[in-house]
Symmetry: C2
Subunit: 532 residues, 2 copies
């Protein structure tokens, strides 16, 4: 398939470099970002994209544990608002800077400057991206890497961020309009895969203006020249691989080089070696590679789409690294089962959780909850589970009576909560899809996963309570279930949703709220849309 | 030229109809509008457009003089704000409902409902359209017609609105990004002309996806079937012709039928007969046609682009109708000369007025002025004129040092102001372009026009102070000047700008403020973007 691969080049540098950048002492790292539309050619095809300071992906944030990040974001879009989420950063004490429009803040208007300020309290590999409409797909995203103050349980010489994405030639407006249309118009397969914002579309496949193909698709445009990582023979590289695909599950591999996985979503894992790293949208991994192959040639690194019905990846089987295990609480006070189904509402295709399709309101929950604006969202909480006895997860979803709701799950502060993601058949016969779910404001312990319907009586007995990995994003596989546990210890309102952009847009998400009463006054800057 | 014509059909209905709709008694007319993106095929080519209640153009507002119009506008765009201007309605006493983002209101956010409420105090033909970014070009516009309570000086049997527009296949984002690019990327000629939202692109010229032309361009799509006006033989029709082109000056004609012009911009004119009506963006005319030709056949009505360097149209030569003359004040207290030039600023192409390129701020002037937010815009007023003695309007504009400014013209309340629009050469040798300027909140008397440089000593002697027509939009022709007078009697902040969407976007506008101190409290609904 034309779009299935993206290459980048691992080049050997023969000159030994002695560059050794000392970690900065400064604890406050300031960024001034301008967000605007520009024509770029990420995959050699010219397209309008959203840039930060002229770039997509935006600048990588490089910080040390406990640093404070201050981003002054100026919205220079013409008529569009914006909001940026700091993916994997728990925002302890700053829930209003999570950057989730409709949940934690009002959007930032054109011409406005909004200042995000938060602490990166844990080392690890994180992301940032737009969290408003489908703007992430327009190129508004980037990497965050936070180095450790403590010795790490592995050694490496160099540290590099590699961010993977899929890329569509249609605008996000066109994509969104299609998803809302009756009949439904699916986004389709991506035209390209991007690696650090670079891909390569075969211009001869282009079906746009035949009169001026060269002006639209130019294979010699440096904007789409493959990303090249020049390495020094014998050195070890930490590659921080992350994915922000709209849709695709990816495999990442480097020709003739094994990779040792050492970190996932900011947590050290018991090391394991892979030739192909499976990665879902919203996940991050660190792998170590040694530049130990014949230095007289170059090696291709590739990423390609794995079926959305992929076989089980390492994501849930990995374990926390010895010496760094944070054991989960032995029991939970509450269990919520989330049945994932595809349905229709008034003829529109939607995704639903326990037969409720999520409807993001425009008054952010955090403000509505703190200021007691009861009319801002549905006060009826959505269901805690589904009809476990009677629902056949292998049957085509026929329930066209799913409701839409903006209701939320209110969690008792500091309680321990178990979440079971239960997958099912879509509206197509013999079809179920993998969904990577991402939780804001928390990490969670991945307790287990399995095929078929989660057995509420027996499956919990198999939970790994000894050394489960902590993550913030986890897939639930076709016809399967995934279980995790978290502590509701971060006062705020937090989105939990499928990280496939179009699925969240189509209702596949929920919101948790906890400890709102413990919050002080909210910053007025987040309240622009409710001051009326 | 493929795009030069748009046809519509005048069909004769042989059955005599006796429909006689009595004027409604109700004085308040309520509308509920939902604004969103949808795929439509106005010219047979499928494109994402902004609709009102599923339509582009939006519903025609039909009202009687002194009615109150209430429009509840719900923004259902995904990430984009919106604002709608009621073009030609003076908004006496309601300057906050003029709908001009950055001048009279904050934009309406996605999910918000904003209620416009204003009185249509004069009979006539008006328009509404988006006044935010370049959204008007995305299809967000419509007609307003206000019938008279008093007898009119002409008779007709039926009253129809015909709105003309040009149409581009590129999105407004792409157009705007091109205009801001270095090097400059011009919008280009329109792909189609629309008549009541319908045009006809020749699908065989389509250069987009060759694999599925039929799905993109379908000549049998009813959305692009020609607008048909069925007429009854012997009857007289009042056609209210208006133009909202992005760029083009148009000519409108009906095969074998003369047209008698009787109204312009809401004012009765001394009737005159034309075969071709020249109309500029922002202008409205009423013409009478009699269905007096052979009823056994149909007649095409056409609109086509006239050169942007058009010869003088009737617009400025027409006179107010006897019996309806409102004489202008004999003298003015202030004269402002506006030199129109094309320049560059930091490599970007811009349009300038007196060597200042207008920069619309994001805190609306009305709010900044009323609440004394001095930092919201440049406090230095822009120049009252240009270097009349030394500037050669026939030379290529070479001044690349034009400044951008958000400064405004503060007018003494109730003073009489003369405006001279002075055209000049662009940055291209031997090139000057016609610009239709539109004034918000006022009508003005068109005093005169001429070729070459306006002579401040002698030309005013030729002003028509006897029976000048009042308008709200007037063209200034290439290398020419246009003079008008108005009374600064409407407390508020009012935009005055070239009605070519891209020219205003590129800085061709100014703002007048008058009588702010006379205004009561501003509605909080317009202040959403400044409450921080």
């Amino acid at each position: 398939m034309a779009v299935a691969e993206n290459l980048f080049i691992l080049c050997f540098l023969i000159i030994i470099s002695c560059v050794n950048i000392p970690l900065a002492e400064a604890k406050i790292r300031r960024y001034k970002w301008e967000v605007k539309y520009e024509y770029k050619s990420p995959d050699c095809v010219k397209k309008l994209v959203i840039t930060i300071n002229g770039r997509t992906p935006g600048p990588t944030i490089v910080a040390e544990q406990n640093d404070t990040i201050i981003v002054e974001l100026k919205n220079r879009l013409l008529t569009e608002n914006v909001a940026i989420h700091w993916h994997g950063i728990r925002q302890i004490g700053t829930p209003w800077f999570d950057g989730t429009e409709g949940v934690t803040q009002c959007p930032i208007l054109p011409g406005e400057t909004f200042t995000y300020e938060f602490v990166v309290d844990r080392p690890g590999t994180y992301l940032y991206h737009a969290h408003y409409g489908m703007q992430r797909e327009a190129g508004l995203y980037g990497s965050i890497r936070v180095s450790s103050k403590e010795p790490e349980p592995f050694a490496y010489d160099y540290d590099k961020s590699i961010i993977l994405n899929d890329w569509y030639h249609k605008s996000t407006y066109e994509q969104a309009a299609g998803l809302s249309s009756v009949p439904f118009q699916w986004v389709g397969e991506p035209q390209s895969l991007l690696l650090n914002g670079k891909g390569r579309f075969n211009c001869s496949l282009l079906t746009t203006p035949s009169t001026n193909v060269a002006s639209v698709c130019n294979a010699t445009n440096p904007e789409c020249s493959p990303y090249t990582l020049i390495v020094i023979p014998g050195k070890t590289y930490r590659l921080r691989i992350s994915s922000l695909t709209a849709l695709s599950a990816l495999s990442f591999q480097i020709e003739s080089h094994n990779m040792t996985v050492v970190e996932a979503d900011g947590h050290y894992v018991e090391p394991f070696v892979v030739q192909n790293l499976f990665i879902y949208s919203g996940e991050t991994y660190s792998v170590l590679i040694k530049a130990d192959q014949d230095p007289s040639r170059n090696y291709w690194a590739t990423t390609n789409v794995v079926s959305r019905n992929a076989t089980t990846p390492p994501g849930q089987a990995i374990k926390a690294r010895k010496g760094f295990i944070v054991p989960p609480p032995p029991t939970a006070e509450r269990m919520i089962v989330f049945l994932n189904t595809q349905n229709t509402v008034n003829g529109q295709y939607r995704w639903s959780v326990n037969n409720v399709s999520f409807n993001l309101p425009h008054t952010p929950y955090l403000i509505a909850l703190k200021d007691n604006l009861l009319h801002a969202f549905d006060q009826t909480p959505p269901p805690n589970g589904y009809d476990f006895k009677n629902y056949n997860i292998y049957n085509v979803a026929t329930n066209t009576n799913v409701t839409t709701s903006s209701g939320i799950y209110r969690l008792q502060f500091n309680s321990t909560v178990d979440i079971i993601l239960q997958n099912a058949n879509t509206m197509t016969v013999n079809n179920s899809e993998t969904h990577p779910w991402h939780l804001h404001g928390h990490d969670f312990w991945v307790l287990g996963y399995g095929e078929g319907k989660f057995d509420i009586y027996n499956d919990p007995k198999k939970f790994n309570l000894v050394n489960p990995i902590m993550k913030n994003t986890v897939p639930v596989h076709k016809y399967g279930w995934t279980a995790f546990r978290f502590q509701a210890d971060n006062p705020g309102a937090w989105a939990f949703h499928c990280h496939i952009e179009s699925h969240f847009y189509m209702g596949m998400g929920v919101v948790f709220a906890e400890g709102i009463e413990k919050l002080g006054a909210l910053p007025s800057a987040i309240k622009g849309c409710v001051h009326r």
